[in-house]
Amino acid sequence: MTYDDMLNIPPYSLSKADKDKLLAERLRELTLLHREKCPEYANILNCLGFEPDSIKKPADVPFLPVRMFKEMELRSVPKEEIVKTMTSSGTTGQAVSRIFLDRTTASNQQKTMVKIVSDFTGSSRMPMIIIDSPGVIKDRAMFSARGAGILGFSIFGAKKIYALDEDMKLDVDGLRNFTEQYSGQKILLFGFTFMIWQHFYKELLRLRDEGIIFDLSNGVLIHGGGWKKLVSEAVSHDEFHSRLKDVCGIQDIHDYYGMVEQTGCIYMECECGHLHASNFSDIIIRRAEDLSECGIGETGIIQVVSAIPESYPGHSLLTEDEGAILGEDDCPCGRKGRYFKINGRLKNAEIRGCSDTYAAKFQ
């Protein structure tokens, strides 16, 4: 089956047996492809004594630590075919990941993301409010996970505004004009969890005391980048939801988990508060002691597999995050596949990932 064929299957429709079979086959092909095209990857497999033929299920695919992409350039296509290089966010001095995309991989990332997100927002494009500063994508040096996230989600926006200015101040007039112009329509809001709290929610709260109220009850908010900074402000998931609803009426709120190393395959939070793996990717939780697979409910290190990456050997990665599978094929929201929760970074790991870089500087 080609990737285009996979795209034609509704993203949360496959139950375990079918998904495992489909994904294992694709991942085995990708393993073979990268072994052939990326000499460093081939060397690693050789060291591990790994035989791609032994892949029977997604969990059999060998995994690289995500940090590998910070330490070396790993490509499976000639330099000339690279159309885009994505970098992870990182504070000054920290190494950043470099992910090389060719036309096919870049295009599959986008198509996949459309399939996944449409399942939550509907397939038509919406007016979109980006809760960030336009500087994030103007400045090439900052074109990182934050910029990539914004650009990635921008394809769902018909008409777009940035809600924050270069100084991360809320553009009150711009926001008012926009919401008035599109009142009654479904509006997509997108941003990073901590920025939404710090620069959007807190500002709306202040404005409400001045009698300025925004009604976003028609909105759907998608946010990502991690909870680390909010946890330290003692803001829970539920409180985030209730306070946002309270201040602007928004109720349709979805967190997502994703990383620049596997762009496209994001894990969206459903109406039940669970993060979901789609047909295109999966989550495997591993025990630190022996890297064996954890059972349902057991906390361990998160491995992610994605059917997309053809231009770099990033189809199976061990993250530096910790989490647990909550269940498979039986989420009350009706979506098939694994659903899970993220506990955060492994203790002591280098802080990376979307908005936490900013959060670290913000104090």
Partner: protein, 395 residues
């Protein structure tokens, strides 16, 4: 000069102690009072059952051992300590600061010792014992001792650097570079312990013949896992000599694994780190992972030794391994950065032949397995007593 900072804690001594050091009378190396003090410290520490490293320090600084050392320094009995020594000690080895301090005071100096940033019970025990002795029997040495704790802060390092005659920096390289941003007075000198690596070599046949295998394993454990295999003395590569290499390795590592599994706690972040180290090195150098059931002991069989192999070293139980037929095959990893070779079942004259024949740029010490952490006053190639004292010539 300012010696009080909000982030600076004096654990032993005070800002006044540090300020007074300049005017203090330097001592001769191996001063009797100093030996008496260290011997009393030894009595308090060498019976410690909970921490073998504390006991080891205690054993090292007993009077009999120090007098033996003193005998080797006959020629410098007329020397004086240079004045004040500022020690910046490593954060990953708990008792190292105590050895550094003892060397400084034995050489005849007043000492400002920056303690490890991480908290260790061993540090508290040793500091407690030092305090106890200074408050009682050894009040005369109070002006010579300051133990401090502070987060990396240039202003504070500036202040201590400005008043010292010798600065001792336990690395690695990044720490040395960082501390060197703080200028030293023009006549002061510096002793730096940079990033090093170490190796072990085992004769397979001798190992198989040994009847104290568990003790050998315990010694190896102390050399490696006890400090997360992160000390400069911890072997990162194991060489095997002899005939029955495979049998010996199988037995050795099975026992190591059992000991590690029983005693060592492996954090998830260490597992990820080891996997990362494995991928990083194997991406560019041919080697084979030795299959294992878990992540406690990671062994990589190296196909070809290169001088840059040790740039890929890692910790937490991450071992390169190589079969050899002659010690001279170790040469590629015995460059300038190589510090300690620990061994089992190899005769001294084999090493002598190797050193004569290969003349490696590195290797400062060759010690039995289990002795890698044993401190000596000649460390990392530096004669600490001579470097921290001065000779006055009268003609």
């Amino acid at each position: 000069m300012q010696l009080n900072f909000s982030e600076l804690q004096y654990i032993v001594g005070s800002a006044e102690t540090a300020a007074g050091m300049k005017e203090l009378r330097p001592l001769h190396p191996f001063d009797d009072n100093v030996i008496g003090f260290l011997n009393d410290l030894s009595s308090l520490l060498r019976t410690n059952r909970s921490f073998p490293d504390v006991a080891t320090f205690g054993f090292w600084c007993r009077k009999a051992a120090l007098l033996q050392e003193k005998a080797k320094y006959d020629d410098i009995s007329g020397c004086f300590g240079k004045g004040t020594v500022f020690h910046s000690t490593p954060s990953n080895v708990p008792v190292n600061f105590a050895f550094s301090f003892a060397s400084g005071i034995l050489a005849g100096n007043a000492n400002i010792v920056r303690l490890p940033g991480k908290s260790f019970e061993q540090v508290d025990i040793i500091c407690g014992a030092v305090k106890q002795l200074l408050s009682d029997k050894h009040k005369a040495l109070v002006p010579y001792v300051c133990f401090v704790k502070y987060p990396t802060k240039k202003e504070i390092t500036d202040a201590f650097s400005a008043l010292c005659n010798v600065r001792v920096i336990w690395g690695g390289d990044a720490t040395i570079a960082e501390i060197r941003k703080s200028p030293l007075p023009p006549r002061s000198n510096e002793i730096t312990f940079a990033d090093r690596h170490s190796a072990a070599v085992i004769n397979a046949d001798s190992y198989l013949a040994a009847d104290n295998k568990d003790a050998i394993i315990q010694n190896f454990y102390n050399d490696t896992y006890y400090t997360d295999q992160n000390a400069c003395t911890s072997p990162r590569i194991i060489f095997w000599l002899g005939k029955e290499k495979e049998t010996a390795k199988e037995d050795f590592w099975r026992r190591v694994h059992a000991a590690v599994k029983e005693k060592y706690h492996l954090e998830p972040v260490q597992t990820v780190g080891k996997l990362q180290a494995l991928c990083r090195v194997s991406a560019v150098k041919p080697m084979k992972l030795i299959r294992n059931d878990d992540m406690f002991v990671t062994r990589l069989n190296v196909e070809q030794l290169g001088s840059d192999l040790m740039d890929f070293k890692y910790n937490s139980g991450f071992f390169f391994e190589k079969d050899i037929d002659d010690l001279s095959e170790m040469l590629p990893v015995c460059g300038e950065r190589c510090q300690t070779i620990s061994y089992f079942g190899i005769e001294q004259d084999e090493f002598s032949r190797f050193l004569e024949g290969s003349a490696p740029h590195g290797i400062d010490r060759i010690v039995p397995i289990g002795k890698t952490m044993d401190f000596s006053l000649i460390w990392d190639g530096f004669d600490l007593i001579r470097q921290m004292s001065r000779r006055i010539s009268i003609i």
